[in-house]
Every structure is written in C-alpha cells, then in structure tokens.
C-alpha cells in the first residue's frame, strides 16, 4: 500500500515532465498522458480508500533519511545538555498512510482525474494547451505529495510547489493584464501566510527537533514542549499561531482572503481543481494534521473566530456578485471558513467531512460553471438565463451540487455542514462568551442557500437575457458532462452518512467515515473533550432544525426574489445602498491593503530602505570604499614609482653602469699594460702568500 503511494504522486510528476518537455510534439499535445497518469493514480488510490471504507483502519508508514548532516557541536555542549543525543542533523522524510491520508487520496485523485478529463474539452484549442496539462499534473503531484507526507518539511515543499502552480495557472492567460495582476496578488498574499508557516516550522524544529507528525504527536503526549518559549510566548502557542497563519494564507481566510476571488482569472478547470477542491483545502488539511499542536497551543478559539468571520463576510459578498465564478469563489471562501471554524470549535470529524464533501460538490459547481461559460462565452450572470433547456445535464448536476452546498437533506453538504454548525452551537452554548461563532455560522448558512439559488435562477431559469448568446448555447461533449455528473452523484449524502443524511434518524445510516476519523484521532492522540454530553446532544438537535429552517428560508427568499420576482432586488439594493457599496467593494480590503498598508506602510518603509541603500550603502560604503581604494592605489603607485622603480630598478642600472665605466678605464687594449698589471698583481699576491700569516 505504501509503495502504491509513491506511484500515486509519481505518476502525475512523470506526466508533468513528459508534458513540459515533449508535450508540444505529441499528438493531441499529449493531454492523454496527464489524463492516463491521473487515472492510474486514482486506480491505485481506490483500493487504499476502499480498505478504509471496509475495515475502517489503515496505518502504514515508510520513511528514510534524506539528509544527514554532522553538526559542529562541541562535546562539552553535548555533555552539559543531555537532552541532545547526537550531533547529527537527520532529515527523515517518508510517507504516512493513515485514515485521513487514504480519504484525501481518494478524494484528490478522483477530483484531479475528472478535472483533467474535463480540461481536455474545456481547454481545447487554447494556446499553450500542453503547458496547461503540465501545470495541472505538477499541481496534482504536489497535492498528492502533500497528502502522503509524513512530516511538515516535505508538506511545506509540496505546499510551495502548489503555490507556484497556482501562480502559473492563474496567470495562464498571460496576455490579460488582469490575469497577471491576479497571479502576482495571489502569490504575494499567500507568501505572507507561507512565511509565517515556515517560521512555525522552524519553531517546531527548535522545540521537537523533528517535523515528523507521529514524532510530534508522541512529543506532545510526552509533555516535551512544556515550559518552552519562543519570543516570550509559549512555544506551542507560537507554533500553532504560525501554522494557523499558513492556513489563513493558503485557504484564503480572513484577513488574507483577497486573493481567491481574483484567482478566478485562471481557466475554470483550474478554479475547480486548485481554488476550490484541493489546494485551498490543503490549508484545512494542515490544521487537521497539526490539530494536536493547535489544541495544546490554545489557539483553537482564534481559529474558530477566523473561520466564523470568514464564513459570514464572504457569504455576504457572494450575494452581490454578478460574475458566476466570483460567486463560487466567495462561496469557497465561506465554506473554507466553515471548515476552519469546525476545527476551531473542536468538530474535527465534521470539518474533515466538510472538506471532502465540499471538494466534490464545489468541483462540480465550478465545472458546471465552466460548461456554462464555455457555452455562452461570458461570465456575467446578468447575460445568462434560461439555459435549463439548452443544457439539461449540466443543469441537473449543478442543481444537485447547489442543493448540497445549501445544506438540504439527502445531499452531502447537509451532513457535514450540519455537524459543523452543531459543533459550533455546542461550543457557543458551553462557552457563552463565544456565542458569536455559531451566530455567524448560522447567518452564513442562510446566505449560502440564498446566493447559490440566486446563481441557479439567474443562470438557468427565467427568460434569456441575451438572445444571441442563448441561441448559440449547447450541451457540452461527453468529456465535460461526465465529470460533472459523476461529481454531482457523489454529492448525495448516501455515500457519507445515509440516504437522508439526518444523524440518528436515518434507518440506513453508514458509519465508515466516523469510524475512520475516530481511529485517526486515537492514533494522533487527540482526546476531544466533548464537554457536556447533554448540551452537545441538544445542540445538535437544535442545529439540525435551525439549519433546515435557514436553508429553506434562504431558498425561498431566492425563489421569491429571482424566480417569481415578488421581491425586487433592485429596490433592496437602493434601500441598503451603503451596505451594498461596502459589499461590492469587498469591505474595501483591497483598498485597505493597497492604499494604506502598502502605500502608507510598506512603500514608506521601502523608500526608507531604498534611501538607506542609496545614501548609506551606496554612497558611504561603496563609494567610500572606492575612495579608500583610490587612496591606497595612489600611495602604492607612488611607492612603486619612487622606491621600487627609481631606487631599485634604476639604481641597479646606475650601479652597473658606473661599475662598467670604472672597469672600462682599465681596458686600454694595450697588451703590455695588461702584462704590467698582471705582474704587479702576481707580485702582490706572492708577497701576501709569503709574508702573510701562516
């Protein structure tokens, strides 16, 4: 099973290499390579997933030492710090295959495969067709690698690769300035979160000396981190907060949610794959993996508030959007907020279930919206309408997914959302200071049902607003319809809880998911304190009724407004003009970040640093160094000229010439003189020899 995991993420990686290097020359630009690779991954992941469904438990692991560095730690330090065992830094990486991994593998490979299949239709004839498949294959490989990672280090690497793929794919239509800006915005915004995440990762290394999940869980249970601090705060709180910041960046949570709506500039399958189903859920998956740290670090209430605020604020904005993909983008932010809120209130299983169900129905919604955009060549819902008859299969798929996201019984979203809301309500009842969390959650549930049905009615019902576009609309080919139908089929609650999805009342309830997650919790050492059993039970009952009422209310409100036109949307728009303006401007977050934080803060700081660079580094240090060098140069030049050249070199010449001049005096050329001189010399030498000391 573990060996299969290697192939699961290697196949898309191989597909990426082939596509990026050869894709252009292959028939059909090689799209079949990616599709087959993802099908292979899915078929390999399926037995793993089915084993979890049937036996309820899978736990395998494999790891090897990737990097082993000897550390230059003196022996005296080691003897004085007995906790540090070996002066070697070992980076072990490997695969952790447990229940959450298996469930995620099943979901991710399935979504990736279907979206690859859909892309073969949607992207047909586009420029750089092969590179599109290369990118989404690389993305799939990274996501699968992230899911199977047994440590936060490779998790983070895959996380960053996904960020890069996201950047490349948002800016895929690189000739559109808005797409380029959106890709840069997405990359820079997530960078804030990623930097924090990396700081958290370093904190983990400081505290635990490892980033392996199992070892961290053991370390936590062994109280290894107690009493340790980083930057004056408890180490676990610091790490937990930083990991949460990573999630906030990647999963587009408040206050870093601004990038996700802009990311809709990318092709629609990308929105479905990356910005709805998988990558943004990666942030939630991180919270699931590191839940024990978050719990021990006491950051769960902050996470709950972040999630609740995100869920509500994004749902509000979704109500006023007219771009079909923007509605879905805000709905994604909102639903991710639900998951984060679920984690925050301790509804671990519910949040994880919502991650899975949301991925399936949101992928379906995005693919359907892709089909619609492909059919009418616009993203503006005000130019759509009456597509129900033209695209019946797409309509049915989208309706099912919409019912799922709105929280209607018999559909998957109901199961998971109801549990999250139940958990939030129980939390609010238990800690009444935190009552805002369930209130925001329920308000978002009402809004979700409203804006999703608004989308359905504006797109598929009512009269056609643009005759030309309407007459040219047609149903999509099989490779685009089949994925949407399959995904909508999986948006039924029967797969996750039972035919109706109502917990406790369903005669044919299935428990595989609960069992699997319970086993996973035991493995991770998560002992969720369920609080008052009585409160929890009654909270779930209230939440069930309340969410049913709210979903119905939302749907009815949308029906009256956008189908029956009993309520005028325009009238309410003018009546609530201030609120409407705030929502259309997305709470002025972009303006806040660009005009205030970037222009007033970062730009000033940037200019200050630039000035420092110019005045101090450049002028004083660089130019100053130049002056010093010039001075030294002049001195050495003078020394060379005066001392070496004149005295030594020329001096040698003069001495030689003078010696030559003196000796030349003797060279008269007169042999007889030479004889006299040599005779004198001989005589002198003889006298010296005879009379000299013996």
């Amino acid at each position: 099973m573990v060996q299969n995991c290697i192939w699961i993420f290697s196949l898309p990686l191989i597909a990426f290499v082939l596509q990026a290097s050869l894709g252009k020359k292959l028939p059909r630009q090689g799209d079949f390579i990616s599709v087959i690779a993802l099908l292979g991954s899915f078929l390999l992941a399926l037995p793993i997933f089915l084993q979890v469904v049937s036996t309820g438990n899978i736990s395998e692991a494999m790891s090897f030492t990737w990097i082993s560095l000897p550390l230059p730690i003196p022996d005296s330090f080691l003897t004085s710090h007995p906790g540090i065992s070996s002066p070697t830094f070992n980076l072990d990486i490997g695969i952790l295959l447990n229940n959450p991994t298996a469930i995620m593998l099943g979901m991710v490979t399935f979504c990736c495969f279907l979206i690859h299949l859909f892309s073969t239709g949607y992207m047909k004839g586009e420029d750089r067709y092969h590179m599109f498949f290369a990118y989404i294959s690389l993305f799939s490989a990274a996501m699968l690698g992230l899911v199977v990672s047994d440590n936060l280090f490779t998790f983070f690497m895959c996380w960053e690769v996904m960020g890069v793929c996201s950047y490349a794919l948002i800016g895929f239509y690189y000739k559109k300035p808005s797409a380029i800006n959106a890709s840069i915005k997405a990359f820079m915004t997530t960078r804030v979160g990623d930097t924090c995440f990396f700081l958290g990762l370093m904190g983990l290394y400081i505290v635990f000396g490892t980033s392996n999940f199992s070892e961290i869980y053991q370390g936590l249970q062994g109280g290894f981190a107690e009493g340790k601090t980083i930057l004056g705060v408890s180490a676990l709180s610091f790490i937990g907060f930083m990991i949460m910041m990573g999630t906030i960046g990647k999963s587009a949570q408040f206050p870093l949610q601004i990038w996700l709506p802009d990311a809709m500039e990318g092709p629609t399958p990308v929105s479905a794959l990356i910005h709805a189903a998988t990558m943004v859920s990666g942030g939630v998956f991180l919270l699931i993996r590191t839940f024990p740290i978050l719990e021990a670090g006491h950051v769960l209430p902050i996470i709950a508030y972040v999630g609740a605020i995100t869920a509500f604020l994004a749902a509000m904005v979704a109500v006023v959007q007219t771009d079909i993909k923007k509605v879905l983008a805000y709905s994604t932010i909102s639903q991710l907020g639900y998951m984060v809120m679920g984690i925050g209130v301790g509804a671990f299983a519910a949040a994880f279930l919502h991650l899975i169900t949301h991925a399936l129905f949101k992928a379906c919604l995005f693919l359907c919206s892709g089909s619609v955009i492909h059919a009418v060549h616009t993203q503006d819902m005000r130019e759509m309408g009456a597509l129900r008859t033209k695209m019946p299969l797409t309509f049915i798929s989208m309706l099912i997914a919409t019912l799922a996201i709105s929280g209607v019984p018999f559909f998957s979203g109901f199961v998971s959302k109801d549990r999250i809301l139940g958990g939030a309500l129980a939390y609010g009842m238990e800690h009444q200071v935190h009552a805002l969390i369930p209130i925001l959650g329920f308000a978002a549930a009402l809004l979700t049902a409203f804006y999703m049905f608004r989308l359905i009615y504006m797109t598929f019902c009512g009269p056609a607003k643009d005759e030309h576009k309407h007459t040219h609309a047609h149903e999509m080919p099989w490779n685009m319809v089949l994925p949407t139908l399959l995904l909508s089929g999986l948006s039924l609650s029967i797969w996750f809880a039972g035919p109706t999805g109502i917990h406790g009342l369903d005669p044919f309830e299935v428990h595989w998911f609960d069992n699997a997650v319970a086993a996973a919790q035991t493995q991770a050492g998560i002992a969720l304190h369920h609080g008052d059993e009585h409160i929890a039970h009654s909270a779930h009952g209230i939440a069930l009724v309340l969410s049913l009422i709210l979903a119905t209310a939302g749907i009815l409100l949308a029906t009256f407004t956008y189908l029956k036109h009993l309520i005028s949307a325009d009238a309410w728009k003018s009546r609530l003009a201030p609120l409407y303006n705030v929502l259309v401007h997305k709470y002025y977050f972009d303006e806040l970040y660009i005009n205030v934080i970037i222009q007033r803060g970062l730009l000033v700081w940037n200019n200050l640093l630039a000035r420092f660079d110019d005045r101090v580094v450049d002028r004083i240090l660089v130019d100053g160094w130049k002056d010093i060098s010039m001075g030294i140069k002049a001195f050495i030049g003078k020394f060379d000229d005066l001392v070496v050249d004149r005295i030594f070199v020329d001096g040698t010449g003069y001495v030689t010439a003078a010696g030559g001049w003196i000796l030349r005096r003797f060279q008269t050329g007169r042999v007889q003189q030479y004889v006299i001189l040599s005779l004198i010399g001989f005589t002198v030498a003889f006298i010296c020899l005879v009379a000299g000391p013996k």
Binding site: Q667, R670, V671, Q672, V675
Partner: protein, 107 residues
C-alpha cells in the same frame, strides 16, 4: 765558498735564469715591436727552462725537470709559430707591427 763554487752551483744558474726572466719581462713590456715582444716571451720561457733544469740537477736525482724543459722548448716552438701568424695578420691589418697599435679591445 769561493765565487766559482757559488757561480757553478744552483745559485749561479738561478741567477742567470733571473736575469733572463728580467730581461724577458722588460722586453715584453717595453718593446714596441711585436717581434721583440715575442723574443721577450722566448727569454721568459728559457728562464723557466733553466730553473727547471737547475732544480732537477741540484735538488733531486730524477730527471722530471729536464723533461719539462723539453716540453717547454716544443711549446715555445709552437707558440712562436702561432705568434708569428698573429703578427702577420696584424701587419696585414695595420701595416705595422707596433704592439701599441693592436688596441681594438680598448675600453
């Protein structure tokens, strides 16, 4: 010791050799004529020969010095041939055999 004894002994021969050598040196140094210089050299060589023979006769029983003298005579003949050839060349070049004129190596 009578004068005759002194004159026929080692010292007498050495005295003759010394006079010959002195005359030879004076000839070598002061003669303008190259032939005269050559003759001076011959006198020097003969002075050396007389010394060798005297020491051989009066100081040892061996005849080494006399053999040296023979060699010196042979060398003197060869040297005279070479020197005369040089003097001929000098005469061809300068139309004179004045030793002072052979000063191309000056300075």
């Amino acid at each position: 010791m009578s004068f005759l004894d002194w004159a026929t002994g080692l010292h007498g021969y050495l005295f003759v050799g010394t006079i010959l050598a002195t005359l030879g040196i004076i000839a070598v140094v002061y003669r303008r004529n190259s032939i005269g210089v050559l003759l001076g050299i011959e006198l020097l060589l003969n002075a050396a020969s007389i010394n060798f023979i005297s020491f051989s006769k009066f100081r040892t029983a061996a005849i080494d010095g006399q053999i040296f003298a023979l060699f010196i005579i042979i060398i003197a003949a060869a040297e005279a041939a070479v020197a005369l050839a040089i003097i001929l060349r000098l005469y061809r070049l300068r139309e004179t055999i004045d030793a002072g004129e052979a000063n191309l190596m000056r300075n």
